[in-house]
């Protein structure tokens, strides 16, 4: 490389800034060969890989490679890698799942994404029920309509609640007491039921008499509900449809009829198990009693 202005072998480019002139040095020849190599590479690439955009697609390239097929292959690879865990999860008794730490972790992770895809629409992304709406149970608390043991949760998910699609769906129907009781009786009952959260005796007084005659069959004489019947616990602090007078009046007069699809018809067994494991560890899951 010529660096000196006085060297007569090369001229200058004629550019001159404040007396500093630019020498017209030739490029190294290997640089030229590198340029040719990149051009050759470009030609080969255009032949082998998708390159020219067309109106609705692009040239495919003789290798047939595409990002879409690559993603499909990666998904297939992940599915294949998880196949063992999936079949293991499908065959595992949920009661002892938590003891198998790696499988439990897999189930919870899978359950989390299944929940986001299938359950979050009603139960909320945080599983605390639909924001601003009533009647979608909060899954984070320790109050369960149909039982909080992991197998009970799995049954609820698999068969759903009050749907026509699955004959094994959880089913219970509270009568609409608006047709059975007088308005004054309902008002008395509303006041009585509201007081149950504060620890009042379920069977005391006029309201207690009405409760014993009409409600205790399902909700129990202690008002603690019955998860076999899906009858809510009326003595706790949790009110699915609200604890104000208007809400409770509406509930007693018209009854509520919450529904849930039978997910066993849409998801496979491993996915149902994973969802049950996920919901069970959200904070309120109850241990399976040891026989």
């Amino acid at each position: 490389m010529t660096t000196h202005k006085d060297d007569k072998k090369v001229g200058t480019t004629g550019h001159n800034w404040d007396g500093i002139e630019e020498l017209n040095n030739p490029l190294p020849r290997w640089w030229l060969w590198t340029l040719y190599a990149t051009i050759a590479w470009g030609v080969v690439y255009v032949i082998l890989y998708p390159a020219w955009p067309l109106v609705n697609s692009a040239t495919g390239g003789v290798l047939g490679w595409s990002t879409r097929s690559e993603v499909a292959a990666e998904i297939a690879a992940v599915d294949a890698a998880q196949a063992g865990l999936r079949s293991e999860l499908e065959a595992t008794d949920l009661a002892v799942l938590a003891a198998n730490e790696p499988l439990h972790r897999f189930a919870v992770q899978a359950g989390a994404s299944l929940f986001a895809n299938n359950c979050a629409q009603c139960h909320g992304a945080g599983a605390a029920g639909a924001p601003g709406a009533k009647g979608y149970p909060n899954l984070l608390d320790d109050d369960w309509l149909w039982g909080g043991q992991i197998e009970e949760i799995a049954v609820t998910i698999r068969h759903g609640i009050r749907n026509e699609d699955d004959p094994d769906a959880r089913y219970s129907e509270m009568p609409a007491f608006g047709d059975i009781l007088e308005r004054a009786e309902i008002d008395t009952l509303v006041t009585h039921v509201q007081s149950l959260s504060d620890g009042a005796d379920p069977l005391a007084g006029e309201g207690g008499q009405l409760f014993a005659d009409n409600c205790a069959a399902c909700h129990g004489e202690d008002a603690k509900g019955n998860t076999d019947l899906g009858a809510p616990n009326l003595s706790d602090a949790i009110w699915l449809y609200g604890s104000d007078t208007e809400s409770v009046t509406t509930t007693i007069r018209n009854a509520r009829y919450g529904v849930m699809p039978a997910w066993g018809l849409m998801l496979d067994e491993a996915e149902v198990q994973a969802l049950a494991a996920y919901v069970h560890q959200l904070g309120g899951g109850e241990p399976t009693p040891v026989d």
Binding site: H4, V10, L27, W30, G126, A128, D236
Partner: protein, 518 residues
Amino acid sequence: MTSPTPSLYAPRLPIFPRRVSGFYRRLKWGLLVVTLGIYYVTPWLRWNRGPDMPDQAVLIDLANRRFYFFMIEIWPHEFYFVAGLLVMAGLALFLFTAALGRVWCGYACPQTVWTDLFILVERWIEGDRNARVRLHEAPWNTRKWRLRITKWAVWLIIGLLTGGAWVFYFTDAPTLLVDLVTLSAPPVAWFTIAILTATTFVFGGFMREQVCIYMCPWPRIQAAMMDEETLTVAYRDWRGEPRGKGLRRRAAAEAAEAAEISTRAAGPQTGPRSPLIPMPGLPSGLTVLAAPKPSTQAKGDCIDCNACVNVCPMGIDIRDGQQMACITCALCIDACDEVMEKTGQPRGLIDYIALSDAPREADGNPPQSVWRHVLRARNLIYVGLWSGIGIALIFALFLRPEVEMTVAPIRNPTHVVLADGTIRNAYDVRVRNKLGSEQVFDLSLDRTGLVVTVEGSDSETITVPADSQGQARVYVDAPAGSDMATRDRSDLRLWVTDLDSGERAAVDTNFTGQEDDQ
């Protein structure tokens, strides 16, 4: 085609650096041994960290995201240490460039060091400069093939060792060596070795100065970091010119003598010349002041022997002045000093010079001391910044906590009402166990009346395996009607205690209650 147009593309002109000896050559050999020694030996140093931990002193464990350096272990969240070291490296480069020019390029750059090694091999096999020029011009006969193939083979072995040493920094070296020998090493190891072998072979054997001139951005950047006080390799043209040898030199001397006689009445024309910059640490012979020269010699000290050009690995002529291609390897200084000694003239015709001294020396005055050039505000600011960051990093290293926890309150929802009216807040808690054995960490709060539970366990403890991060969902429950349960937001401090060592750390977070309790 009447006038020959210059070619747009020039082939590389081969360079055959001649062997040279002297102070700077010895210094460079020393640095070569030290730097290559560090590079090849480091992965084999061992350091005991406990049974479950790697025992390699310096290890970049990409798979597990850890960096080990003797007693120091860096986790990914402590990457600021690496950033700090990189900033220090940058500032050190600024400092060295401002004070001593391109010393990095000339002495320590891997391109320079490996090229030096490759040229050494070349000289052992093919002979010194003249023999190599002859071999280059010789036809491809058996001898040339034999020498060339021997040389390329040795280069390839060096390249292989270079790439081979690199991969040892990323995994346990003895294990990998066994895997390499038994051909069971992972493909990435082979791939890395292949690439580094190829680049070493090509860059050190064939590209050489082309890498510095055309591929490296550093020559352009460094030009902006040097100033007239920077000590750099330069030619004392006021002392050397006009250059000449043999008959021309004698003629020039006679002309000079005649000129001197004719102007003798006007007083002495040659004063004390070319005093050298007193360099601390250099042999005293280098700093001897120039003796007054007999006027019968030529005006210039340069005898145009081209020794400085012949030894230059960049193939340039330092007498052309400062230039981008010069990596200041200082070999021309050694070459010229050898010649100056033979011709009985003072050394230092080519020397480390600050350009601000040039007019001073040309007028016959002594140059400023080397300390005046080095110890100036700009360099001192660089040193200050460099050591400031270094001290901060050392403090950070010793002050970093043994126990570390992060707490992320779950905000969707902010709180949950349990059946008995208890208000529950949930937190994602991560605890780092930096020790080489499994540890149990206990969680506690800074106030009473609240209950802490870890999801999936009956206790308040999190068990974290060795050298990893444990994650748990932690619930804090406030009883119904309590102060925290009915206040919208309360401050809360979560303590984590290592039950083995008693070491603990705290994280401040908050607790959300239900203010409007219906």
